[in-house]
Symmetry: C2
Subunit: 199 residues, 2 copies
Amino acid sequence: MKFSPLVDDLIKALQCLPGVGPRSAQRMAFQLLERDRQGGSALGQAMTQAMSEVGHCRSCRTFTEQELCQICANPKRAESGQLCVVESPADLLAIESAGQYGGRYFVLMGHLSPLDGIGPDDIGLDTLDGMMADGQWQEVILATNPTVEGDATAQYIAEMARDRGIEISRIAHGVPVGGELEYVDGTTLALSFSGRRKI
Amino acid sequence: MKFSPLVDDLIKALQCLPGVGPRSAQRMAFQLLERDRQGGSALGQAMTQAMSEVGHCRSCRTFTEQELCQICANPKRAESGQLCVVESPADLLAIESAGQYGGRYFVLMGHLSPLDGIGPDDIGLDTLDGMMADGQWQEVILATNPTVEGDATAQYIAEMARDRGIEISRIAHGVPVGGELEYVDGTTLALSFSGRRKI
């Protein structure tokens, strides 16, 4: 025996969340039903609305319910002529939180992965090529993840930018600030040596 | 800077779930927006519906959107004349999963806790007293948690049942099956000794 149909539905639906199994889902459902109906209703409404209305920015492809996201709609962000390519909206947010970069973004929403059938058009590289053709950009900064797929994607985009005569750079990889050399993996250490700068 | 309003709302709303902080909420929102819009929509709908429609069973107080839950609506469950008192619907489900007990339940939805201002009427003991008065029950089985509050609640209900002349019992506490004596805490061991049975 289980609970009543609506409670069962809720417990089952909660399991679509990453990292939530049957037990956590049950705990979540009971917690909301017992102690936070208001929060639960707000979540239901926010979820329904976001799933149906949030789309992608026409220019940078990040999540937004408007045609252009806040960054693309801000003319100041295009002044520097810098375009930073990231894999996901979470990466974009991480860079924005650092507060250092003032240019625009292009969000791939993934990376090249031929084995999974994800080719250049699936991650919007045709759109990116169109953007690079309009002569507005002086520099493309590649901030894809330092993984095999991320590196391959960066390589592919670098070729595209080179064909358009746009300056291209990749963010530095090395020992993170606060990290201890002793615990840094070999590949990162090798990258930090090959990327050393004169002081 | 943050995301667009709808995405921000979703990330904020997800944090009402137990154990979900800002980072997990962001990960959940992106996962659903990127890969499982259908699951997200189903969750939104199930959540909204459950929060507004799920109430309590008129008889045993567990969660249900009907007037009587499946167990209370089943006349066979009343035949044994046994009424098991538990603290929460999750406890009820745990006992049902064990498949041993065939009687009815009464769900307190909490326990006596004078310090938090939770008195007998807040956990439905007036309703329970009314049920015990109708002469239908031969035995009340107390399955509240073995905590200070759970024990106090059990004690209180035992007094009520004694006044009504109903047989009263408490589930056994002791070494769990599969547990090793070496790792069982002292209180549990003491309980398992005081509750020993002749074989």
